[in-house]
């Protein structure tokens, strides 16, 4: 097998890149794929926390690059999925400790016996971002339905096109259908209209995402969470399956069921 290298990026910080990486990697592993995720945010590492693997870190990616350990030694196995690994970032170094060719070399070593390598890009468009996209076969851009996040996503799409990385696919994260209905939030159509790229998934705003991140258990492992369902759908689309988009207006839970029965929206 030859892995597909997927980089998740956004331009703006705080839109949910790391959450998306943890969830997509977990969902892919749950589908029986062998997945390695790489935290590209050297100096501000977070992916290990969200995946609940913080206390297992011995070696990190900079140790691999500088030859202090073998690649296999820096790969931390997930607690629940034996085919899911994390290569953590170094917390005590900065982005200059890694170069684009280091990333290409690491991904090349990972490709032969992995299905997916998922790279978590840092915010911004500088060195760390360039490291993260250097080896990418495919790029996913995460944005929120906010003008500033969309503007930054547009910039990132422009850079990716200029660097001939191909047109990325879009994950629209934290959409609140109620706010959109009341015209208080950009709709998916507004965002797509501006960015003009293909949508790979819409993730609704959902408290369980934060709860899952804080517990180190990504929300995809919660079968009842709608955000979890959205991430599971994106993982299926990454694997080439044609999954219809969720109906976000649909309310979950008892109240939703009652509203449906009484025909109220």
């Amino acid at each position: 097998m030859t892995a597909q290298v997927i980089t998740v990026t956004s331009g703006k910080g705080g839109v949910g890149k790391t959450t998306a990486v943890a969830n997509l990697a977990t969902a892919l592993a749950a589908d029986g794929r062998k997945v390695v995720c790489i935290d590209g945010d050297i100096g501000l590492r977070n992916l290990d926390v969200i995946m609940g693997l913080e206390n297992r870190i011995v070696y990190d990616i900079v140790d691999v690059i500088e030859g202090r350990c073998k690649l296999k030694q820096a790969m931390i196995r997930d607690k629940h999925y034996p085919d899911l690994y994390l290569i953590p970032a170094a917390q005590t170094r900065d982005k200059n400790a890694v170069s684009p060719s280091d990333m290409i070399r690491i991904c090349k070593d990972l490709r032969p016996d992995t299905d997916f390598v998922i790279i978590d890009s840092p915010a911004g468009i500088e060195r760390g971002f360039r490291n993260a996209i250097a080896a990418a076969d495919r790029v996913l851009v995460v944005t929120n339905p906010e003008v500033s996040a969309v503007r930054d996503a547009d910039r990132v799409v422009g850079i990716l096109e200029a660097e001939e990385k191909g047109t990325p696919a879009l994950i629209l994260n934290r959409l609140n259908p109620t706010l959109v209905r009341n015209n208080d939030m950009l709709s998916a159509e507004d965002v797509l209209d501006l960015l003009g790229i293909k949508l790979i998934g819409i993730v609704p705003e959902d408290e369980s995402v934060i709860i899952g991140s804080n517990r180190g258990a990504p929300v995809v492992t919660d079968p009842k969470s709608r955000a979890g369902q959205a991430f599971r759908n994106i993982a299926k689309r990454i694997q080439g399956q044609d999954v219809p988009f969720m109906d976000l207006d649909q309310q979950s839970g008892l109240w939703g069921a009652i509203q449906k029965l009484t025909g109220r929206k």
Partner: protein, 226 residues
């Protein structure tokens, strides 16, 4: 060795270092540049480098490759000066400057003069945030201009698409220049030295043309055929 390294001249300028390329093969010259840097890593550590590539026609891959290799040596490439419009466009797409504060005395002027007022730059794509396109003639864009993109032309600007970025026509002071677009909801328009920032997004967009009117104010009006 001496022969290889002398292909590229490096000198200090106010904004860092300037590497001047000749018209020899690009591949050889970029290797020569990297060799020079590798010979004196301490000197080049953290340097800001501008390149004058003369008439070389460079594609995205050429520049990205060299930029990444320079970046591995902790040298940041911030500007590419070129006489080729293709290379200039490539560097602008990659977000690099195409002019350094001190323009090249006579050559720069010669380049501008060779482009007559009737020449137009045709861009067949959407310009995204962070892209800046400058051209000493007219600019025609087949696509949108997104917020955060900047278009600067000495002549007119015509956009077959939606404008939400900044457009400057007649940048060298031509007050008869105009800007027209299918949907002109730009966040800022400029013609010569007039600036207009009061364009509101339209519900039902119609083609518009912006000119400086008889009172000397920048004004946009609906495009009437005939």
């Amino acid at each position: 060795m001496e022969q290889i390294t002398s292909l590229v001249q490096i000198k200090g300028i106010r904004d860092g270092l300037l590497a001047t390329f000749s018209d020899a093969a690009w591949e050889d010259q970029s290797i020569a540049l990297l060799t020079q840097i590798d010979e004196r890593p301490a000197f080049f550590q953290g340097a800001r480098l501008a390149m004058d590539v003369g008439t070389q026609i460079l594609k995205v891959n050429d520049l990205v490759d060299l930029r990444d290799r320079l970046s591995e040596r902790n040298v940041s490439l911030w500007a590419v000066i070129s006489e080729s419009p293709t290379t200039e466009q490539t560097s602008q797409l990659l977000g690099m400057a195409t002019r350094i504060s001190k323009p090249r005395p006579e050559e720069q002027k010669q380049f501008a003069d060779t482009i007559s007022n009737d020449t137009a730059l045709f861009i067949n794509k959407t310009l995204r945030s962070g892209t800046r396109v400058e051209y000493p003639g007219h600019i025609v864009i087949m696509g949108d201009v997104n917020p955060g993109a900047e278009i600067v032309a000495d002549g007119n600007v015509i956009i077959w698409g939606r404008v939400r970025g900044m457009i400057h026509a007649g940048a060298k002071g031509d007050r008869s220049a105009y800007i027209c677009a299918l949907d002109l909801s730009a966040n800022q328009l400029r013609i010569a030295d007039e600036v207009s920032a009061m364009l509101k997004p339209q519900k039902d967009p119609q083609p518009e043309i912006a000119t400086i009117n008889s009172e000397g104010r920048l004004q946009a009006e609906l495009w009437h055929t005939g």
